[in-house]
Every structure is written in structure tokens, then in C-alpha cells.
């Protein structure tokens, strides 16, 4: 019975689907998290009666043959890069990008990672860093003793030092974008890495063509819609059940054969 193994591939696929959904729900309050979606494809087909084969000496051909599939496989689990909601935190170093673009983060290894999570802070040397302490490119140092930090929509960082009336420009945050953001590789900690599928990054001023402006005192929440995830979860669970019913039915059919005398 081929349907036994077909049902098994279906159950495996739905199990993975539930895993992806549970990861989405678990990260529904993660800053800058982008939800994922599992994508499935049909497996190879077996031709029991081949389409287009000759059916008589007169050259007539079979218009549609018997093709029986062998189940389902997971083609990819990919990220949906929709904008998340913006929440106001009034924290001077909480930055959100309203539109396309990623902050560039210098990893300890020297590579550049990309993130939508703009919950930054200052490290002891006065550098702007992520919540994990990684330096935000290009490594802006805020003057010691600065009382007020402001980040403009175009990414210009200004700090006000005591004794000076005019705030001093201390740096410029540029953001990067990719032709296919769904192709980025997630490495955890809200960071993404460039891959061949994402294309090469193009960097620019926030708010310039194709890039969103920076909003200070704002964070981007995850784009997980919990209601939608729960409904997908229900569909996945029911699909899992239906595949198990297929296995049960195939079993009963085999039992029927066993009762033939």
C-alpha cells in the first residue's frame, strides 16, 4: 500500500509546519522578529500508464495516463519580511526603521550582520551597541558626559555636551537593504546574514529612495499575527489528523485483504 508511506510523508510535513508555527508564536513579542512560513511541494510521480504513449498501431495516443504521486516534502521554510507594528518607548537609543532596511551590526568575528531590532544602548566606551553588546556600524562613539542624544530620520546622531549650546554631530547610521530580503539567513539574536539568495546589500541614508526613515524612541514589534498563527495551527493539526486517518484506512484495507480466504 503506497498510501501508507504517502500518509507518513504528510504527517512529517505537518509536524514541521506545527514546529514553524510554534516558533512564530513563541517569538510573537520578540523585537523585530519576522514570521516564517513552511512551504511544501509534491514528490515524484509514478507513471502507471504513461501519457502520450501509443495505444494502437494506428498511432493513437493515450491522452491522459495514470500518474500516482508519492507524497509531500518540505521545499523551504522562509521568512515573511512584512513591517511589524511600531511601539513608542521614549528610550533615546530605541530606533525603528519605518519601511525597508536593516541596521548593520559588526559581529565580534568582523563580519557584518543585519537586524531590524533597534534596541540599542551605550557600552562603557560610549559606543552604540545592540542588547548583546555588538557594535552598531560604523561604531559611533558618543562623547562622555553627553546629556542628550538625538537620532534624526536620516540617521544622523547628535549629542549635547554640557557647556555647549549646539549639539555636536557624532556620527551617521546608514542602513542596508537587499533585493530579496526573504533570502537572508537568520543566526538567532535577531540577526541576519547575507546569503547568495538575498543578493548583495546596498547601503544608504535612511529615508533615501527605497529605504525607510529612522524613528527615535520607537521599537518595531514582531510581525507575528497571533490570531493568524492559531488558525494556521488548527489547519496544520487537522491536516495531521487527516493524514493519520489515511494511514488508518490503508491499514484497514490491508486487514480486509488479510480476511480474504
Amino acid at each position: 500500500m503506497r498510501s501508507l508511506s504517502i500518509g507518513a510523508t504528510g504527517m512529517q510535513a505537518q509536524q514541521l509546519n506545527v514546529e514553524v508555527i510554534s516558533n512564530n508564536i513563541a517569538n510573537s513579542s520578540t523585537t523585530g522578529f519576522k514570521r516564517q512560513r513552511a512551504e511544501f511541494q509534491d514528490l515524484l510521480y509514478q507513471n502507471m500508464r504513461r501519457i502520450g504513449s501509443t495505444s494502437s498501431d494506428a498511432g493513437t495516443i493515450i491522452p491522459s495516463g495514470v500518474q500516482i504521486g508519492s507524497g509531500v516534502r518540505t521545499a523551504s521554510v522562509y521568512r515573511i519580511m512584512e513591517q511589524g507594528n511600531l511601539t513608542i518607548t521614549d528610550n533615546k537609543l530605541d530606533l525603528a526603521i519605518n519601511g525597508n532596511g536593516f541596521f548593520q551590526i559588526q559581529l565580534p568575528s568582523g563580519d557584518i550582520a543585519y537586524t531590524r531590532d533597534g534596541s540599542f544602548a551605550l557600552n562603557p566606551e560610549g559606543k552604540i551597541v545592540t542588547s548583546n553588546g555588538y557594535v552598531v556600524a560604523p561604531g559611533i562613539v558618543v562623547t562622555a558626559g553627553a546629556t542628550d542624544i538625538s537620532v534624526s530620520a536620516t540617521g544622523q546622531v547628535q549629542a549635547k555636551v554640557p557647556g555647549s549650546v549646539i549639539p555636536a554631530i557624532v556620527g551617521q547610521i546608514n542602513i542596508a537593504n537587499f533585493a530579496n530580503t526573504a533570502g537572508l539567513e537568520a543566526t538567532g539574536d535577531n540577526l541576519y546574514l547575507e546569503t547568495p539568495a538575498s543578493g548583495t546589500p546596498t547601503t544608504g541614508l535612511p529615508g533615501s529612495t527605497g529605504l525607510g526613515p529612522i524613528l527615535q524612541g520607537t521599537l518595531e514589534t514582531s510581525n507575528v499575527n497571533v490570531v493568524q498563527e492559531i488558525t494556521t495551527l488548527i489547519t496544520a493539526q487537522r491536516a495531521y489528523e487527516m493524514n493519520s486517518k489515511i494511514i488508518k484506512t490503508s491499514d484497514e484495507m490491508m486487514q480486509t485483504v488479510g480476511q480474504l480466504r
Binding site: M1, R2, S3, I6, G7, T9, G10, A13, A38, E39, F40, Q41, D42, L43, Y45, M48, R49, I51, G52, I62, P63, S64, G65, V66, Q67, I68, G69, S70, G71, V72, A75, S76, Y78, M81, E82, N100, N177, A179, N180, A182, G183, P196, A197, G199, T202, G210, L211, T235, A236, A239, M242, N243, I246, T249, S250, E252, M253, V257, Q259, L260
Partner: protein, 246 residues
Amino acid sequence: MENPIYISLSRMMALRNQMDVVANNVANANSTAYKQQRVLFSEFLKKPAMGEQISMVRDRATVRDMSQGPLTATNNPLDLAINGKGFFVVDTLNGPRYTRNGRFQLDGKGGVVDVNGLPVLDAKSKPVTIPAGASRVRVTSDGSVLTDLDPTNAVAKIAMVSFEKEHQLVQVGAGLFTTASPDQQPIPASNDIKITQGMIEESNVKPILEMTNMIGVLRQYQGMQKIIDAEHERQKAMIQKLGRSV
């Protein structure tokens, strides 16, 4: 004399194939752009002797329901769905293959590829490429690809083809179709078939129908077994009656 058994067996064999098809439909209920299949049965006549005529059953064909699946928004720029009867063309080593799965991405060189890395072809049968440096891609309803580098001139036009006899396409897995005979050539899709960007076509499997089909298959299978059982009993009774010594 054993004809009832052979007729039942022909039905049981056909039902097994139908069960496999139902199982494949249910397993692919969440596969992108999957088209559900049905089994077509036909009567198979046999004339054993003396004007007697018995009809067995055989599964003649699997037919695909090519109706449109529901569209789901993903908002990814390279997720494309076709509204209407049409196919995208991807290039393989064995020639072009046709698919309705428009979940595309970029390879390392800016080429647009499908989920398995096969290049997507444009209307001139050349692979579609996105020029380096483009950060926004827009695909219009006729398949023209525009980037933010040049928002007025299309860099390529994604090919959309259709077939006169769609049911003659052969499925090769991974959502791909191929033509069965050389005289079956793709024709450019008509203008009322539109590409929608940021959407994915879901599978058109209706799970409730599949479940009822499955129950039907099981019950008929069991019914056929009962017929074989009854025929067995009949033959046994006959042998006992006729074989009794006078």
C-alpha cells in the same frame, strides 16, 4: 465460473490506486499551487463464451483539477501568483518545465530562481536577472519586472504560457509539469491572465471531499471482500452438494 471473484478483484485493484491518489491529495493539502487529482474509471468488457458478457473495471486515468487555488498574501517581492490558466517557465537540464508555484528567490548572481534553484525564464526564453544594486523589485500584472534603478523600463518580462490541452501535461514532482509529446507546444498566455505580486497560490485540495472519498474507498473495498467471501461460500456449497456420493 470464477468471474465474480475476478470482477471484485479488478475493482479492489482500482480502489487501491484510488486510495493512493486520495492519500497524495491529503498529503499535499498544504503544498504551494498543488492541483488535486481524481481517478477516472472505465468499464473493461470481456466476452468469455456463449454470448456472455462481463464488465470489469480499470483505472483509466488520473485527471487533474486545474481550478485556481486560493491566494495567500506573503508580501515578499518575489512571491508571484498567477490568476487564471497559465504557467511560469523554468529551465532545467532536460528542457523547460512549467509550474504555477511562483515562490521565487535570487541566486548568487542576481538571477531569479524557483525554490529548487531552477532559473525562471522570460518571454524570450532567457533567464530573468535583477541588476546588481537594485533594492526594490516590482512585478506588474503582465509579468514585467521593474527595479528602483529604472522605474520605467522593464529589465525582463517573466514568461507566462498556457496549453491547449492542459490535461496532457505530465507531472514530474516539485510542482513541475512537462509536455508529453513534441506536438504539444506552449502558447503565450492570453492578456487576461494576470500575475499578482506578493501572493502565493495555495493548493486546491478540498480536505472534506478527500475524507469522504477515503471513507467511500474503504467501504467499497470491504464490500468487494464480502462479495468474494460470498462467492467462496457459494462454490463451497456447490462442491459439497454436487460432490455428495449417491
